[in-house]
Amino acid sequence: MDENKRRRRGFPPSLYFILPATLTVGIIVAFPLFYAFFMSLFNWPLVGAQRTFIGLGNYLSMFEDNEFINSVLRQVGVVVIAVPIELIIGFFVAILFDRKFPGSKILRSLVLLPAFVLPVLSGLTWRLMLAPQYGPLTYLMQIMGFPNQAWLANPQLAYATVIIQDVWRMWPFMFAFIYGGLMNVPKELIEAAKIDGSGFWNTILKILLPVLEPTIAIAVMFRIVDILRIFPEVYVMTGGGPGDATMLFSLYIQEQAFSFFNIGYASAMSMLLLAVSIVIAIFLAKNVFEANES
């Protein structure tokens, strides 16, 4: 078949090249998504096979389910508290490493380590470190004069610990992004600002932040999408307890799916989580990238 014939048929050759990728994405991503949406339209018990079509029933049930609403609020709390802290630490550590000092290369690699720790391992380690009788962190705090505290048994402290664990593990992620962005900021720009008498904070606010805005936006977007899926570390640290203190949205989905076997309801909640992630991504992309382009 020659080129002209192919054109006439409206069958561009580029299609051959994108077809494998399209098919792969279709199978790996799109099919599970559609299937999850399909399941979300049913009252679908995982044990047994009597599923019944209920349309948007599962979606409507969510808003009558106090456990669901509370789990969403807890998850939002984790996002709103943890991500800014990670951003601030990552930002300032990036600025620190932007200035060369002895041992900075080794330290730069070392600070990245927590981000490579498996979430489940991180959760287990924190749980053991905070064990009331044998935990090294508990011991250190006792030496410093704090009372022996069962951190994971107190609802407020357990919630705080989940956030602290996430900040510890993921601030290097923010650091890596921002440091990468900083490397691309022309040094002349900073030096010119200094010559013009701009102080440290002024340089950050007026020069670095605007220049790094797209980088920060991408880092924040990735972090938010990632933290919305936070699961294994919390599961092994607290299992959602004490009480419901750390029963985050993702844990609640798991509980509904694999403890209560309500796979239809869990799918509906997963679809909501996906929708929220997409909305956040679109919002950030629209506001930051388009603003920068204009």
């Binding site: 096979a49 009788q133 069962a150 048994a153 403890s259 209560f260 076997f261």
Partner: protein, 429 residues
């Protein structure tokens, strides 16, 4: 003639039920017992010609998820599954598992006659639901009471305790004694008790133990419908009592799971607590425990209303959709056979068979076997309910809130009743 020979071969295979070369897939929980069983499987394979793919998965959600996904009414990835006993109603009511009466007879190993008394009736109850038996309980797992003999036999403690409370220091026989002794040792800088307070199934067991000891159930059947039977007054007393025990427990009593409990007891600082038989070897291992060989085993102390020992058996069940029911049943009969149970018992694994559990040689070696057999007389089960997981989650939430002081016991009991009522409303329609 050829046709006749073919018919004979087919009949022979059908008569014997299982063909050499059959492979069965068995899904079980992962602990020392299932690991020990796995070491014996080659013997079964050699005797029967049945190949066994034996999959061990951590108990709790991991195994339950595999069972929920892998066993459907029309097809099953497994030929034999081990169900945690509270989930028997869920799988039975969905028609996913075979009634024990319909299990094929064994070819090499004999099918266990339920009326023979070989397996204690209280253990077989673990497999019962709606008047039928849905499998075979395979481990005699229930609360056994452990008391530290090093503390118990200490002459100074004995003297001081008698002077303070007016009776001898002994293995606690009832809740009053348990509290007295817990307080006594706490005042000595030791600990009286080690609770289970993680948000996990263990907390439901503790709640069931306490509620039963104080004389109340959680739910029951009335005119074919489930109703809440939790008596407020008894439930509040149970929570208050457990809260008191927590005061005399090690630091971090509000977040203790099995590893923490075992560590605390094995360090020799805890006077008394319950333990599941499968976990007792941890405290009887001299390499890991300072109290190895110095533990008194007994039935749990009597509550104001009753003595209760919570049961937690694994039940072997055959999926209705299994293609190898005869071979699966053969494997279950082999596992429950006296020979295998004796081998397992001699490795420290608690048996479901009374004739093995009460073997004097084994009792001398593993003293908790006798306490187990005694405790079985007081076995209580967690609620037998199709939506058990939701029920258990509610019980855990409010029980822990009530005993750890996050909520007042009165509010916790009211909350528990209200949420269970909501659940039952949905279930009863």
């Amino acid at each position: 003639m050829r046709k006749f020979l073919l018919l004979v071969v087919i009949l022979a295979v059908a008569t014997f039920g299982i063909a050499f070369g059959t492979t069965i897939h068995v899904l079980v929980w992962d602990d020392v017992m299932s690991q020990a069983v796995q070491t014996l499987i080659p013997q079964f394979e050699q005797t029967t010609g049945i190949n066994v793919v034996f999959e061990r998965v951590p108990s709790g959600n991991p195994i339950l998820t595999k069972e929920a996904v892998g066993v459907t009414p029309t097809q099953s990835s497994y030929d034999l599954i081990a169900l945690d006993e509270p989930f028997v109603p869920k799988f039975a009511s969905a028609g996913l598992i075979l009634n024990y009466n319909d299990w094929p007879e064994g070819n090499v190993y004999k099918k266990i006659d339920l009326n023979s008394g070989v397996i204690l009736p209280t253990v077989f109850d673990a497999a019962k639901f709606a008047g039928n038996i849905w499998g075979m309980p395979i481990n005699g797992n229930l609360y056994v009471w452990m008391t530290n003999e090093l503390m118990l036999d200490n002459p100074t403690y004995q003297k001081e305790f008698k002077a303070q409370y007016g009776y001898d220091l002994q293995v606690p026989q009832n809740f009053t004694q348990l509290l007295d002794m817990a307080k006594f040792f706490h005042d000595k800088g030791l600990y009286g008790f080690a609770p289970f307070t993680l948000r996990a199934e263990g907390s439901t067991c503790e709640a069931v133990w306490m509620f039963s000891s104080f004389g109340t159930g959680i739910i029951g059947l009335e005119n074919g419908k489930y109703v809440v039977t939790l008596n407020k007054e008894d439930a509040i007393k149970a929570m208050q009592y457990y809260s008191q025990l927590l005061q005399y427990s090690p630091p971090g009593a509000n977040s203790m799971g099995h590893p923490e409990r075992i560590a605390a007891f094995s360090s020799g600082k805890v006077f008394t607590m319950f333990q599941w038989p499968a976990l007792i070897p941890n405290s009887e291992n001299p390499n890991d425990s300072m109290v190895a060989g110095k533990i008194a085993f007994s039935v749990p102390p009597a509550g104001p209303a009753a003595t209760a020992s919570v049961r937690g058996c694994w039940v072997l069940a055959i999926p209705s959709a299994s293609q190898n029911k005869a071979a699966a049943a053969e494997f279950a009969y082999w596992w429950a056979s006296k020979d295998v149970q004796q081998k397992l018992a001699s490795m420290g694994m608690a048996s479901v068979r009374e004739d093995v559990l009460m073997n004097p040689d084994l009792i001398a070696k593993y003293p908790w076997y006798k306490a187990m057999a005694e405790s079985m007389k007081y076995a209580v089960s967690r609620p037998r309910f199709v939506d058990y997981a939701e029920l258990s989650s509610i019980v855990q939430k409010y029980w822990l809130a009530g005993v750890t002081g996050t909520m007042k016991p009165e509010d916790a009991v009211n909350g528990m009743i209200q949420e269970i009522n909501n659940l039952l409303k949905t279930y009863n329609g």
